[in-house]
Subunit: 432 residues, 2 copies
């Protein structure tokens, strides 16, 4: 350890991608608060249209990424998103001896181990705090703060867009389409919100947290991931009566029954109103950790938005400038193989189907019972349109048997009708 | 940056203090989970009585601290508590070229800046994550995770003992004396619980967080700090009716009106049931941060107990072993002077006095009004004993005017009777 560490050796920072987050990062870097971080380059396609007047004259505006990957930059900030060419640019920067900071969950979820190996070999740093949980320091909190614990479960709300949509459906009784439009108007959802609604965004994030928290790297696409699109106003009304709310939940846990397996899923679910998950509102995110020694901890905050995400990016930049930032890459587990994902999670479940089954057909409760699932409660509800629905609460059952039963039921329904299914995630038993 | 960082260079660890936390740290270090941390020395007074059989034979048991401060140890873990000789031992270790990890909130609150300067000069590391918030990585989360933000307020529940006591008084309707005894039986409170009940423990913790989060070092004893001992069952019943609960709250905030001043306090207070502070139960702790850019974030978890605290100690040890641990000391602001503390916090207030004022004396509401305080509501309540109390809710008023009024009222009361006063801390307006 040398004694001059932490001194203000100035690092030159180049940003690739000048969208919402890139602009917030630039604003922070130009605020005068960080004397050892000097913004020198901004890359974007069609850069002339992107220029702003609040950036100092010394900054080079360019639409050639080669300029930012050149020797004039010490730290490369990747904010273009998507798998390619982002991954190739990050690789080129590392090979060129630069440290890298990225908010790219897809690249880290899929190529994190590979990139971290490259970084270790080169002796630079890779920071990806901004890839998960926006402004909440989840990666640092889990990896360094709780790095000495033996974590056994991570469960959270990791997509601020879905949470905003559910919050609006719950509090303002709007339809999902209306809530999506509101989210788009406020900049919480993109023009094509599929990655959020289908759970792919949360899938990448929980895969990253599994690697850094449980040290179990997962192939993101192995994680059972369910759309939130089937959730309607009916679900919010029923959940409310049962003292639950609906959240898009991401979870990964060590499977005690199966040595190297993990349980993992991303799904809309009923969670108790009074639970930590139930109390996350608007664009907030939360991650709850359960550790063998430290019990339950939780990190909550704004999971989306340019400014919170920029805080995470600049936090990584500061760590690298102060030479304390290599740890992110250091603690990313590198293994040839990823852990196997168990699809056999067990919980209670909520099901809703149109009441259209004709005489002689199997009712949903009958089908469930025949598949060995206990039916706790069943009742009918009508929509304003007059359509009648059958609702069922089950006892404990595995996801696969419920999925199978829903499939059977849907084969009896007319096209477009569906069996809406939400697991009920009551709080796991606490360690203490 | 060298390329061999993060490799498993083994560090020899010596523990001074083999109480609850020391034993949990030793258990973790002997678990085989941390190949680069080697427990070599354990110091305690009367060491023969402390020996346990689950520690490897190589470990030196000693009642001479000089053995642990010797060259055979790389990292000195100070867990004896109290100001002296803990501070002198930490100094001796740093001067001797060792890194230090401590759970000692009193030493860091009072001497943190001085010790961090010493560490910087010597090029070693000082970790004190365990001094605040038990197993919750508050120091790291605030200092590194949110280090790029401009934090303007920190508010939390920082003493697990007081929170446990209040939780029991609320949920089991026991007296404070009974709750203290329960806490002692469970190991949450010491034989002499004064530091917890009088708020001195929380005072030291919020002083540390002010330094690392707001970069405003405070002299701990400057922080207005109020005992929880005056809080009775009557307060819990009234709070419940008003939809509040009672928590020992610690808060520090930048005072916008007064440039370099900060507002700071430790006090029992009414907080909304549905607020983050209100939802912290048992021995849990929470810190809520408000930042100019990142908005509101919160860290929650177990704030007391040997194992959670040991997680924080070993987390610091791992950071030092991986050479990423100097940052704690690096970011501790060193300044000749500490910030001034404003005593002019403003909130609504709850007051309770015995209804014993004779005709012609000023009633509490009258006194409040004469001192310029708006009275929102006043009512009478009787205890089982038949004693009658006058209760008052005020509008917004400064702490000093309420304190003054309580003083006036108490001069009219008979010895032993008091004016119970709790501020009502409704949630601060959120940034987003």
């Amino acid at each position: 350890m040398s004694s001059d560490k932490g001194q203000t050796e100035v690092r030159r920072v180049g940003i690739a991608g000048f969208g919402t987050v890139g602009q917030s990062v630039a604003r922070l870097l130009c605020s005068g608060r960080y004397p050892n971080l000097l913004l020198t380059h901004i890359y974007n396609r069609n850069i002339q249209a992107k220029k702003v007047d609040w950036v100092p004259r010394r900054v080079v505006w360019t639409d050639r990424v080669e300029d930012v990957l050149d020797i004039g930059v010490d730290i490369f900030v990747e904010l273009i998103g998507g798998l390619s060419p982002a991954k190739e640019w990050i690789e080129a920067a590392i090979i060129g001896g630069k440290s890298v900071v990225t908010a790219n969950k897809q690249v880290i979820a899929k190529h994190g181990a590979e990139l971290c190996t490259l970084v270790r070999q080169g002796g630079t740093a890779l920071g990806f705090e901004a890839a998960v949980g926006g402004g909440i320091p989840m990666v640092r909190g889990i990896q360094q703060g709780l790095g000495s614990d033996h974590l056994i479960e991570l469960v959270g709300v990791l997509n601020g867009t879905c949470n905003f949509i559910f919050d609006r459906m719950e509090s303002a009784a709007v339809t999902m389409e209306e809530a999506v439009q509101e989210a788009q108007a406020l900049g919480y959802a993109e023009a094509d919100p599929s990655d959020d609604l289908e759970g792919l965004d949360a899938q990448a994030k929980i895969a990253i947290l599994s690697a850094v928290g449980l040290r179990r790297p997962l192939t993101p696409t192995d994680i059972p991931t369910r759309t939130i699109k089937s959730v309607g106003q009916m679900e919010f009304r029923q959940a409310d009566k049962l003292n639950y709310v609906i959240r898009q939940v991401s979870r990964v846990a060590v499977d005690n029954a199966q040595g190297d397996q993990v349980q993992a899923l991303v799904t809309p679910a009923l969670v108790p109103k009074s639970s930590r998950l139930g109390q996350v509102h608007g664009a907030e995110n939360i991650i709850i950790t359960r550790g063998k020694w430290g019990g339950e901890s939780a990190f909550v905050g704004l999971g989306a938005g340019g400014e919170p995400t920029a805080i995470a990016v600049v936090g990584d930049l500061l760590s690298i400038a102060e030479d304390t930032g290599t740890s992110t890459a250091m603690r990313f587990p590198v293994s040839e193989s990823t852990s196997r994902v168990s699809k056999e999670c067990i919980s209670r479940h909520y099901l809703r189907t149109p009441t259209v089954l004709s005489h002689g057909m199997n009712s949903v409760p009958d089908r469930l019972k025949r598949n060995g699932v206990e039916v706790e409660k069943t009742w009918q509800e009508s929509q304003n349109s007059g359509q009648s629905f059958t609702l069922v609460l089950t006892g404990l059952a595995s996801f696969s048997v419920i999925q199978e039963t829903c499939g059977e039921v849907e084969r009896d329904l007319k096209d477009g009708d569906q069996c809406v299914w939400l697991p009920i995630l009551d709080e796991s038993p606490k360690e203490h």
